[in-house]
C-alpha cells in the first residue's frame, strides 16, 4: 500500500503491462475454441469494443458524478437539484451512450457467439476499467487493487467456463 503512494507511476505501468498481457493471452486462448477464421475476425474486434465501451461508460458516469459533488442526502427535496445538475452534465449522456453502445454490441455478439465464450472474455473489462480510470480520471491504482482486480478476472473467467445452461441438459460439471 505504502509503496503505491511513493511510486504510483511505476506500479501503474507494471499493472497496465500485466493487464494487457493477460488480455492478449486470453484472446489468443479464446481463439482456439471458435470454429472458423471468419467468425474470429468479427468476434475479436467486437469483444475489444465491448470491453472498452462498457468501462468507458462507467468512467464517464464517474466523471459526471464527480462534477456534481458528493450525494449525501437521501431526502427527496435534497435530491431534486442534484438530479437536475446530473441531467445537465454532458458526461452523463456520453456515459449513457457508451453503455447503450456496449449493450448493443453485447447483444450482437451473443447472436452468433456462445455465452460461455463471451462472458469470460468480457471479464477483462475489470482490467480495462482500472486502466481507463487511471488514464482518464487520474485515479492512482495501488498494487493491492491491481491484485484484487486480477483475482476478480480469474474468478469471472472460471464462472464463465462452466456450462451456460443447466436447466435443460444434465449437468456435466
Amino acid at each position: 500500500m505504502r509503496m503505491a503512494h511513493d511510486f504510483p507511476g511505476i506500479s501503474s505501468a507494471i499493472g497496465s503491462f500485466a493487464a494487457w498481457s493477460l488480455l492478449f493471452l486470453t484472446i489468443v486462448q479464446c481463439n482456439r475454441v471458435t470454429h472458423t477464421r471468419r467468425l474470429q475476425l468479427k468476434t475479436i474486434p467486437m469483444i475489444l469494443l465491448s470491453i472498452t465501451l462498457g468501462p468507458l461508460g462507467n468512467v464517464f458516469l464517474g466523471k459526471a458524478m464527480k462534477t456534481v459533488g458528493p450525494v449525501v442526502s437521501g431526502r427527496i427535496h435534497g435530491l431534486i437539484p442534484i438530479v437536475s445538475r446530473v441531467l445537465a452534465s454532458g458526461y452523463i449522456w456520453l456515459g449513457i451512450s457508451c453503455l447503450l453502445g456496449f449493450f448493443i454490441v453485447h447483444m450482437l455478439l451473443l447472436t452468433w457467439a456462445d455465452y460461455s465464450y463471451v462472458q469470460p472474455a468480457t471479464s477483462l473489462s475489470y482490467l480495462s476499467i482500472s486502466i481507463l480510470s487511471y488514464l482518464l480520471l487520474g485515479e492512482r491504482i495501488s498494487p493491492l487493487r491491481w491484485l484484487g482486480v486480477t483475482v476478480i478476472c480469474l474468478g469471472v473467467l472460471l464462472v464463465g467456463r462452466t456450462p451456460p445452461s443447466t436447466t435443460g441438459a444434465p449437468n456435466r460439471a
Binding site: L61, S133, Y134, G148, V151, G155
Partner: protein, 124 residues
Amino acid sequence: MRELILFFFIVVAGTGGELCVSRAMKGIGEVHDFHPKSILSFILQSLRLPWMWLGIALMSLGFFSLLAILSFQEVSFVVPVSALSYAAGAFGAKAFLGERISQNRWIGIAIVCLGVTIVWWSRR
C-alpha cells in the same frame, strides 16, 4: 456505512432486477425471428408482464445507487466491488429460477469474492 448501503442496492437490487427480467423473458420463450415487426411485438409482449416492470424498477434503483456512490468514490474501486453481483446472481438464480449451479461456478464465485475483498482493502 453509506457505501455499504449503496453497494447493497447496487448488488441486490441490480441482480434482483435482472432475475425478474430473466423470469419475464423465460415466460415469453425463445426468440427465433429477428424481423423488426416481431421484435416490436416481443417488446410489447414483455411490457405486459408484471415481472418485467418489477425488474425495470429494481434495475433503476441499482443504477441510481451506482450514480450516487460514484459521486464520492473512485470508479476503479466501485466497479470491481460491484462484481459481487456474480455471487448474488448465483444465489438468486438457484433460489428464484431453480437453476443448478455447478461446483466450478461456485469456485469461480468464491474467487470473485476473494478479489472483491482485496479491492475493498485498497479503499481510500
